[in-house]
Every structure is written in C-alpha cells, then in structure tokens.
C-alpha cells in the first residue's frame, strides 16, 4: 500500500488538520505501514457475510420530540467553555467569507 505526499496533504485537508511539510514524510510512512497491515483482511472472502451494523441489538431508538429545558447552571458552564464570545453568544469567523451580515463587523458571523 503506497500513499503519495499529495494524498497525505489531501487526507489532512479532509481531516481539517494542519500538517507541516516536514512532517508529511513521517505520516506517510506510518500510515502506509498500518494500511499494509490491515490489507490482510482482503485474504478473506466475505461476499455472503452481512456487515455488523449495530453493536447493541437495538436500532432506531426514538424518544418523543419535545423541548426539554436546560438547567441554568449547566447552560452557564457550556457558555463559559466558549473560546470566543459576545455576551452569551458564541462568536466565530464568517462561515461564508465575503458575505457579511448587517449588524456584525466584516468577516464575522454570529451564531447561537
């Protein structure tokens, strides 16, 4: 199993991971050796084998779709964990660059 440096860059991008150029070789080598190891599954004929879909023998566990309140202390702790906020709102960079909303400053969107 061989991977190109270009593939490593692509996988890192899919994973939203910044990888330094000098690290790429090390990731490539280690990922290749793991992929080479898992290759042994191809020895098995699994044409008629079903996939194990649900680890617990239950699927589609539903509950009533109703609004449940959140304890105010829990809510406060969740908000306290935000890395950047304005009041109780989570402040993030623009999701769609170039589009600004009326009230926010350029390049910033608000979401709750």
């Amino acid at each position: 199993m061989s991977l190109s440096n270009e593939e490593i860059r692509h996988i890192a991008k899919l994973s939203r991971l910044h990888i330094d150029e000098e690290e790429i070789e090390d990731y490539r080598e280690k990922l290749e050796s793991i992929l080479e190891y898992v290759e042994k599954l191809q020895e098995l004929n699994t044409d008629d084998v079903p996939e194990l879909q649900h680890a617990a023998d239950v699927s589609n566990v539903f509950r009533e779709d109703e609004v449940q309140g959140c304890d105010s202390a829990i809510r406060e702790r969740i908000v306290d964990n935000f890395s950047n906020r304005e009041g109780d709102l989570l402040k993030v960079q623009a999701v769609f660059p170039g589009i600004t909303n009326g009230s926010g400053s350029a390049g910033e969107n608000r979401t709750q």
Partner: protein
C-alpha cells in the same frame, strides 16, 4: 492503618462497624497520593473537597442514614468522563481549560451511591494508546517499576489502584484500555458487555466499541461497582435494561461443571514464554477448582486487529470532528474559519490522534469505503460469530490479557504498529461486544501478568464467579509494589 491493600468490601465493613470513618480512609489515601503521585503521575488532578465529602458521609452514617452502596469510598475517574465543574481534557492539549458542564451518568450514579470523587486519572490522549505516554500531562509510570509503562489507555486509573492511591478507579475500554493496563499493573479490570453501562458524558472514541468499567483490587469489588454504574439510561440509546443483575453477594465460588475454552489461536507466536507459563498455571488452578478445560478454535482471531484498526479510526475521525476550537478548549486563530479549524486541530492534537483521524478520513473517503470500512464490518460479523459459536459449547473463554508484561517507557512510542500489537488479545471482546475480565495471575521478572476471561453477552456473573474463585485460591492480587 495500611489502606494500600484494602478492598472496597473491607473498607465498607470497617466503616459500617464504626472502626473507621470515611474521613480517615480518604486522609490515608491523600497521604499516599501526596507521597507517591509525583513519581507515578496517576492523578492529574485531586479534588479539593474530598475530606468535606467524606465528613458529610460520616455524619450521615453516624445518625443511621442510608449512605449508599459505596458510602464513603474514594474513586478515581479517567480524564475522559465529565464531572460537573471539574477540568476535563482527555489527556489532550486541545481541551486545555475545558470544564465539565454536567455529570456523566456513571458519575451521577456513583455520587448517588455515596462514592467520594477523588480526582482525574491520567490517560493516553483521547484514549488512543496502550502505554499512557501520549498524555498532554506527561507519562504515567508503572508502580511496580517506574521505568516501565503502566499500559493504557486507562494507565492512570490502573496505576492509581496498584499504587494504593484509591481502592477503585473508572476506566474506559475500546480495544483493551481497561484490561491491558489492569494486567500490566497487577489489578483487576472489567470491560462490561456493550450496552451494560451508559456512556453519556464519556468523550467518545469509537462509539460501537466504547464501554466504561471498574478497575479494582478484587473481583468482588468490581462486581460491587458494576452494580452501581450499570443499567439503562435514556441519554444513551445503546444502554439496555438488565434482566439479570450482578449481585456480588451471590458470587458462588464452586466451579464444578463449568466449561472453559482455551482458544488455540491465542497461544501462538508473539507471546512471552513467561506469560504463557503463568497463564497455563492459572488454567491448572481453575481445573483444580472444578472447571473442565476444552480446546476451542476462534478461526478469525488473526483478523481482529486489522478489522479494529479500520473500524476504530473511522469512528474516531468522525467523533473527534467536534473539536473545532470554538465551543471548548484550545483555539488557534487563522485567516479564515477553515484555517482556524486546521490550526487548532493541528496544534491541539498529538501525533497518534492525528494519525488515527487521518486513517479514518482515508478509509471512509470516496473510493475506499467498500474496500476498507465495509470489509471490516463484515469481518467483524465473522469474529462475533466465532465467539457466539464457541460460547455455545463453553461457559467462558480463558486467554492471557496481554502478550507481554510492562515494557520500557519510550520503547514502542514511535512505532504505532508494534504498540497496536500489544492489544491483540483484548480487541476481539470489543468487536464481539462481549464482557471480559482481567485478573492478576503471576509475575514475570517482578512484573504482573494478567489472565483474561471472556463470556457471553450480559453474563458478567460467570466472569465474576470464575475470577472470584481464582482469587480465593491464589494471592497474586494481595501483592503490592514496594
């Protein structure tokens, strides 16, 4: 008073008879932590209010109130389980400064049962490792030999119990992360059946494999703790209502008529000769206790590790998508949102976590899904079927927990595949969703060896029965590191 060998059961008896208070008990453990933790690094945080919690229990016990099944017993919690108001980092820089907004279900259940939450135990970053070396808080060492690893990823939990810092710790097990460190540290570790214990409030690694379980000194203690944390929880859709519960008092130590399977595929190359000898001697002891030993075959055993290293990273890459640097923890600002994600995650995650995320993204990506992920799910079915068939014939399966005893710190750290191979005997139980218990069964070069029992889904009782009978006939679990 020496608390280092005390079991939960003994401590409860002493507290109930008035010979010991929870405050004295907790104080003794705190003294041990203060003297030893700087060398072991099992705890990354010790709660400030533990003596207060203990005094509260003592007060209630003194007036005859019901203080719960674990009333006054201190417990360590792995750093990937949320406790309201505590820092909670999964051993990662990316969760620097993050605090638990609510209690995990297991934490609520422990508190309701009167347990004293002692602190957070160290772990491999996001539970991805077998040695507890990848933690942002530094490596944990093995209390038996501080130049050796404690195993992982629940190495802090296992080392805390082995070092006599607490009588019990919670760990989480995705491919062996409770049992393997329990084995390497000479203590008991249980991975319950998938669905037995709620994972609400546990930071998910691989959702179809993760389970929470206890690490203790005795098998009976593991049963006591399991009974507190198990059962259905509306917050975890995979948790089930149990018809048969584990009542520790019912542990029957007579093994007459029990059938134990010895899988030939587990006793091949790669296993340390000393480990093999210790395990075979334990098998003889079980025979003397009345069990019948039957040779069995698990034909797909050799494919378990490969299937696991496709399924686990695939699920982990998806679960770890939530660490975006916005809602909690570490944040590194880039030119735009995408760049901020990449920087935060590139800087905040360690190398092994990044490798697994990338591996998962790769095997799930267009063109590779069928060849890797779907194939692995099919092989997982075959592995589960092997166990279902074998467990029709026998009551439980006996194997080593780990192919070797604890290795040197740094020895396997830069070689992921070699590190992965240390979980070769534990991974199958997660893939097959069955319960598995590791019990100390001897020493090789003064380092502990673990014996693993695997059983039918939701039949933890049989594992407790076997483990308790074995511990009654041996004294490995009473030995402590000097």
């Amino acid at each position: 008073m020496d608390v280092s060998t005390m079991t939960i059961k003994e401590a409860l008896e002493k507290m109930n008879s008035g010979d010991l208070t929870s405050e004295e008990l907790v104080k003794s453990y705190l003294d041990r932590i203060e003297a030893g933790n700087e060398h072991v690094n099992a705890f990354v945080f010790v709660a400030e209010d533990v003596l207060e919690q203990a005094r509260e229990i003592d007060k209630r016990r003194a007036v005859g109130e019901d203080v719960g099944v674990l009333g006054g017993i201190p417990i360590a919690v792995k750093d990937n389980m949320l406790v309201e108001g505590w820092g909670s980092a999964s051993g990662s820089q990316i969760l620097e400064g993050h605090k638990g907004a609510y209690n995990a279900t297991v934490i609520d259940r422990l508190k309701n049962a009167g347990a004293i939450l002692m602190g957070r135990a160290n772990m491999d970053e996001f539970a991805m490792g077998s040695s507890t070396e990848s933690s942002h808080f530094g490596a944990t060492t093995n209390p038996w030999d501080k130049t050796k690893v404690p195993g992982g990823s629940s190495g802090g939990s296992a080392a805390a119990v082995a070092a006599g810092f607490v009588p019990v710790a919670l760990g989480s097990d995705t491919g062996g992360s409770i049992r393997q460190p329990a084995s390497l540290c000479g203590v008991v570790g249980l991975k319950p059946t998938y669905g037995r214990v709620s994972r609400y409030g546990l930071m998910a690694m691989a959702s179809s494999l993760d389970q929470i379980g206890p690490i203790t000194r005795s098998v009976e203690d593991a049963a006591i703790v399991l009974e507190v944390i198990e059962g259905k929880d509306p917050h975890d859709g995979t948790s089930v209502e149990l018809s048969n519960t584990t009542v520790p008092a019912l542990i029957d130590k007579d093994l007459t008529g029990m059938k134990l399977g010895l899988p030939k595929e587990y006793f091949v190359d790669g296993m340390d000769e000393g480990v093999k000898a210790a395990v075979m001697e334990a098998v003889e002891e079980l025979k003397r206790a009345g069990a019948e030993i039957i040779d069995i075959s698990l034909p797909h055993a050799q494919y378990a590790l490969a299937a696991y290293y496709i399924i686990m990273p695939a699920e982990a890459s998806s679960n770890l998508g939530r660490f975006d640097g916005l809602r909690y923890g570490y944040h590194s600002n880039g030119e735009n949102l995408q760049e901020s994600y990449a920087r935060t995650r590139g800087e905040g995650f360690g190398p092994e976590v990044k490798r697994r995320i990338m591996l998962g993204s790769y095997t799930l990506s267009a063109g590779y899904y069928d060849a890797y992920y779907r194939k692995a799910l099919k092989v997982r079915s075959l592995i589960k079927k092997d166990f279902d068939e074998a467990l029709k014939e026998v009551d439980a399966i006996v194997t080593p927990t780990s192919p070797s005893v604890a290795w040197g710190i740094g020895e396997k750290f830069n070689d992921p595949l070699t590190m992965y191979l240390s979980d070769i005997y534990t991974i199958s139980a997660n893939l097959a969703t069955i319960p598995a218990l590791s019990v100390p069964c001897g020493f090789v070069k003064n380092l502990p060896v673990g014996l693993q029992f695997m059983g039918r889904p939701f039949d933890e009782y049989t594992l407790f029965k076997l483990g308790a009978a074995y511990q009654e006939r041996t004294d490995w679990h009473t030995k402590t590191p000097s």
